[in-house]
């Protein structure tokens, strides 16, 4: 039986001044065994990065078995998938173009997750943002390019934010569970936009339901192989992480997420935080919609612009385990796999569904905190839950 190590104390340096205390480590509860040291200690401390990595490796091994069962060499398949997606010129552009909306939609789910809300409405918020931007771009079609872009981005952000705030308000004032309200709002957005695309916003020149194309001066094709939205998305992800950790607003969000009742007692308004969190999430998704409109080839709102992005955002947020900075590598992974899937199909004849299966298996492994708890059960600090709004 080892002696429990004493908790970190103030250490005195040679000059007698206090050294700053280290940031709170993973501490064992009173009476529990000491936090481990060495390699396992490293694993335990860095588990928020390591668990997804191990899950990824395990998922790729399972995927290799699946690919092998189709009669294809797994190493060749993975090489084909990733070399196209990450190193080919057009493949890299495709990957980065897919990455931008994934990061932003991932943020749209991550931010409410920190407050304890589950935002399934990314799809609807994206669509409303995009259609708002399309309408504004058409209204401003004769304005100078830069003005058009700025104004329509703002309008897209506001539209998405407004759409999400509906769910936020319903939750704050009436206690309607945001999962239900956001899913319903997705359907409403879909119907509303279908009417707009066949009616007031329709471009009659084009024989399928589509809005007018954005004016040539306002279109933003990729700069080299970097899409214009990528710096925006990356800056927003980093900014979100910074806000959550270093500002009063972020403190409020995190506190409400960890313990609503303590936060309410401490004077933080739960209602305001709920609405604000949903509003910011909708803003991210709406911005993503507006950027997609300006960045991707037909430059008009038409069938397929939203794809599955809202729901992919949930995948990204879970892969990132609720960490805004984690959305960047998660989005890169998902984007690379999606962009490489056609090349994989071309080279090996594997169906594109294999990529969806790989992602689903990865997500399954990442989302099993039980596995992590089983392995690290003697050492894990309590309070490792992602979302605390279930049934609340």
């Amino acid at each position: 039986m080892r002696n429990p190590t004493p908790p970190p104390t103030l250490r005195e340096t040679v000059s007698g001044a206090e050294a700053p205390t280290p940031s709170p480590p993973v501490v064992a509860e009173r009476g529990a065994p000491a936090p481990p040291r060495g390699v396992l200690g490293l694993l335990v401390r860095e588990q928020s990065i390591l668990v997804p990595l191990i899950a990824l490796v395990a998922a790729f091994l399972v995927g290799a078995l699946l690919i092998r069962s189709q009669g294809v060499n797994p190493t060749y398949a993975y090489k084909s998938l990733f070399s196209y997606a990450l190193f080919g010129g057009s493949g890299l552009t495709a990957t980065l173009q897919k990455m931008v909306p994934l990061v932003l939609c991932g943020l749209a789910v991550t931010i409410p997750l920190r407050v304890g809300l589950l935002n399934i409405g990314g799809q609807g918020q994206f669509m409303v943002g995009a259609i708002g931007a399309a309408a504004a771009a058409y209204a401003l079609r004769s304005a100078p390019g830069v003005l058009t872009i700025v104004v329509t981005m703002v309008i897209g952000v506001l539209a998405g934010s407004m759409w999400a705030s509906i769910a936020g308000l319903l939750k704050a004032t009436r206690g309607v569970h945001e999962v239900i309200s956001t899913i319903m709002l997705n359907s409403i957005a879909s119907g509303l936009i279908d009417w707009l695309l066949n009616g007031p916003l329709a471009d009659r020149e084009v024989p399928y339901p589509a809005s007018h194309a954005v004016a040539d001066s306002a279109q933003l094709p990729p700069f080299g192989f970097v899409p214009i939205g990528l710096p925006i998305a990356l800056v927003l992800a980093v900014a979100t992480a910074w806000v959550l950790r270093r500002t009063t607003l972020g403190f409020r969000f995190e506190t409400v997420g960890r313990n609503k009742h303590a936060a309410a007692y401490a004077g933080i308004s739960i209602r305001a935080t709920t609405v604000l969190a949903m509003g910011i999430a909708g803003a991210c998704a709406g911005l993503s919609g507006a950027i997609e409109l300006f960045e991707v080839d037909p430059y008009r709102y038409q069938d397929g612009i939203a794809g599955n992005l809202g729901f992919d955002g949930i995948t990204i947020a879970l892969l990132a385990r609720g960490n805004p900075l984690g959305t960047i590598p998660a989005a890169l992974l998902v984007a690379a796999m999606r962009a490489g899937a056609p090349h994989l199909g071309f080279d090996t004849g594997l169906r594109p569904e294999i990529v969806d299966m790989l992602l689903a298996i990865t997500l399954l492994f990442v989302s099993l905190p039980l596995v992590a708890r089983l392995i690290f059960r003697r050492h894990t600090a309590k309070g490792n839950e992602l979302a605390s709004s279930w049934g609340a």
């Binding site: 191990i54 091994l61 009669g71 060749y76 612009i305 999606r338 899937a341 056609p342 071309f346 080279d347």
Partner: protein, 352 residues
């Protein structure tokens, strides 16, 4: 330590299981054989890009692929396909084929018209066949792009005529995919044919809302079919690949299928491709897609393929098991209509 063991063991098992990984470093099965060098003039490579539906969607894409495979058999072509999963990938998928210098690229579906035209302009040495894409010869001058279109309104008219004669409730319906001209032509032809056969008939139709997967949404199709059946509709025409298949299956499951309720398939003879619909499937409005694609591919092989529009043929498929159940005079009338449509003496007068 036990926890180290728990981490390491499954990974080791998997790694051992994959040791000595075999498998081909080339194409898996499923009909893809192109490994040869397509840029050489001796090798004829044909590629196909689907429009968001699957290659075995039992309808449109499957028929086009069937035409490509006929070419593989008749003049030993190397063939490959790419299934598109995201509408934003159309251009990238076409590029997979042009990068490898394929000789002919078949793009299936109306929604691929713009990316196909753009690719045709960029690659004048590659031939492009656009199935169901109508080329505006004023705007698009590429001679390497041929649009294969079908007079879908004629096929719709013929099945509409049959439906108008068969209906007892004088209400017939259609479940449509996205509201684009190929689908609208089928539906408007259906309406015109039904009105011609039975002036009292009422035709209801519903289009899939834009923004989802309009040709791959069987759940929506089934739901809409249920609604129409509840309104008293007794014959339903499923227009729209897999979405329509959902409607056909729903009618086949309802009681009265085959005696009072019927369903009609689209694009290919769905008797063979959707066996679950046998209880109600009286006929299908066919675009002879495989034949059209096969014909254009042999033209491309000979070097006789011209740009512009190429009109394929349409027809209605045989009545299969319902042949004995449909009255003989109905069959004769429908045969007459089909013949008159084919030789041009009967016009559907459908305008879009």
């Amino acid at each position: 330590m036990r926890s180290t063991f728990i981490i390491a063991a499954p990974l080791c098992v998997l790694a051992v299981g994959l040791a000595g990984c075999g498998g081909t470093t080339g194409s898996a099965g499923s009909g893809t054989t192109a490994g040869a060098d397509c840029s050489s003039s001796k090798v004829f490579c044909v590629g196909l890009v689907t429009d968001g539906s699957k290659i075995d969607d039992k309808s449109f894409n499957q028929a086009a692929w069937g035409g490509v495979q006929k070419a593989k058999d008749s003049f030993d072509a190397q063939v490959k396909y790419i299934e598109t999963t995201d509408a934003k990938d159309y251009a990238a998928n076409i590029k997979q084929f042009t990068d490898q210098k394929f000789d002919v690229i078949v793009t299936v579906g109306f929604l691929m018209a713009d990316p196909t035209a753009a690719a045709a302009a960029q690659h004048p040495d590659t031939k492009f066949i656009g199935v169901d894409q109508s080329i505006d010869t004023e705007k698009v001058k590429s001679t390497n792009l041929t649009g294969l279109t079908f007079p879908a309104d004629q096929a719709g008219y013929a099945v509409g005529y049959l439906a108008g004669l068969l209906t007892k409730t004088h209400k017939i319906g259609a479940i449509n995919g996205l509201e684009i001209p190929p689908v609208e032509k089928y539906f408007k032809g259906y309406e015109a044919g039904a009105q011609a056969a039975n002036p009292k008939v009422k035709v209801v139709g519903v289009y899939h809302p834009a923004g989802g997967q309009p040709f791959n949404d069987p759940v929506w199709g089934a739901g809409e079919a249920k609604k129409q059946l509840a309104q008293g509709v007794d014959i339903i025409f499923g227009i729209g690949s897999n979405t329509g298949n959902g409607a056909l299956n729903e009618v086949a499951k309802t009681s009265g299928a085959g005696t009072t309720l019927f369903c009609i398939g689209v694009d290919v003879d769905q008797w063979g491709t959707v066996p679950e619909a046998h209880p109600c499937l009286v006929t299908s409005a066919e675009k002879l897609i495989s034949d059209g694609v096969g014909e254009l591919l042999s033209q491309a092989n000979n070097g006789t393929m011209k740009g512009g529009n190429f009109i394929g043929k349409t027809g209605i498929s045989s009545l299969h098991d319902f042949d004995s159940k449909i009255p003989a005079d109905v069959k004769t009338k429908v045969d007459v209509v089909v013949k008159k449509l084919a030789d041009g003496s009967l016009q559907t007068k459908v305008e879009l």
